[in-house]
């Protein structure tokens, strides 16, 4: 491709189902990495990114978008801060909400950790994976409460 950007060479999710498919793929990878002493930080990164994908699926569903908008149309959607994205998706969680502890963990996720070359304790990665995908985790909760049944 001449004159194109790197981003434009890859198909990014363009529907609720595609965002969720990407979230599921990241979940699988996060679960594999969480027990690896050297790669546990990858699980932490993937779990947070999966939550980002799930929230973006909720945004698409609630805003009735039939494609993921270009950045010029909705720059606020091009954000990795999960707290702000959740607010855009209309997800309001108070501390007394049963899912609050899981949301608190994922809200602390920070994409800049991706650049860290240091090993992460596996307990930290497992905790993030559990908060994101566990029985009372954020992604299952979003799928159950904020998205159409498959």
């Amino acid at each position: 491709m001449i004159g194109g950007t790197i981003a434009s060479q890859f198909a990014s999710p363009d529907s609720v189902a595609e965002w969720i498919a990407l979230a599921r793929m990241l979940e699988r990878r996060a679960r594999l990495l969480a027990d690896d002493r050297a790669l546990a930080s990858g699980a932490w990164n993937d779990a947070g990114f999966a939550v980002e994908c799930a929230i973006k699926a909720v945004i698409m569903y609630r805003e009735r978008l039939n494609r993921w908008p270009e950045k010029a149309e909705h720059p606020e959607y091009y954000d990795h801060n999960l707290k702000r994205l959740a607010a855009l998706a209309g997800i309001a969680i108070t501390p007394s909400h049963p899912i609050a502890a899981a949301f608190k963990v994922v809200f602390d996720w920070n994409r800049s950790q991706t650049y860290s070359y240091k090993a992460m304790p596996r307990a930290v990665a497992r905790g993030m994976v559990e908060a994101a995908f566990g029985e009372e985790g954020v992604v299952p909760w979003l799928c159950l409460n904020c998205l159409p049944k498959p």
Partner: protein, 184 residues
């Protein structure tokens, strides 16, 4: 991005939060206020080895439970408390800065005059009068490579060294049993 002022109420609430955690049996390695540019909000940073030992989810469950039982100040929502383990980059950078804080000499501008004066960090941060001159230390410190800017006046606690493994285990047992006892 301009760093918003940290209010005296926030500093007081942070201290109260730290004391509440100690009452509950948690002895954090660090508690201090920072401005998180990525989230565009002020955050109370909590450094604890428990994060590395039991993971963020278990720590989060107890912090939320303690808040909901009013065992921690209601002014400090658990969602503005950022928990980090001592091994995380942010924690290492912040802890290094904090540990050096008291011995660090800072050059600061004397208002109304051209020139700089040297003062020691750890001295009173609020403006003080020296003759007719007011000295104002820089109240912020940005940690390179992170979105965090620390408030010098917002330092509440920093430990000299991380807890040993046996200390962490005892701390977790104490903290979890006290919070769960409140809920019983």
């Amino acid at each position: 991005m301009a760093v918003p002022e940290l209010s005296a109420e926030a500093v007081a609430a942070g201290r109260e939060y730290y004391e509440a955690l100690r009452t509950l049996g948690m002895h954090p390695e660090g508690v201090f206020w920072a401005y998180d540019e990525a989230a565009d909000e002020q955050a109370l940073i909590l450094l604890t080895s428990l994060y590395d030992m039991v993971g963020p989810y278990e720590v989060s469950k107890l912090l939320i439970k303690a808040y909901n039982l009013s065992a921690t100040p209601q002014d400090v929502s658990p969602f503005i408390v950022q928990v980090h383990g001592p091994t995380q980059d942010v924690a290492i950078a912040a802890a290094d800065f904090c540990r050096n804080l008291k011995g660090l000499t800072l050059q600061t501008r004397i208002e109304g005059e051209a020139g700089w004066a040297e003062i020691k960090l750890g001295e009173p941060v609020k403006p003080w009068v020296d003759g007719e001159r007011y000295l104002r230390p820089d109240p912020h410190f940005h940690i390179e490579g992170t979105a965090l800017t620390l408030y010098v006046e917002g330092f509440i606690h920093i430990a000299d060294k991380p807890l040993r493994v046996d200390q962490r285990k005892r701390e977790w047992a104490r903290f979890s049993s006290r919070v769960n006892a409140l809920a019983a």
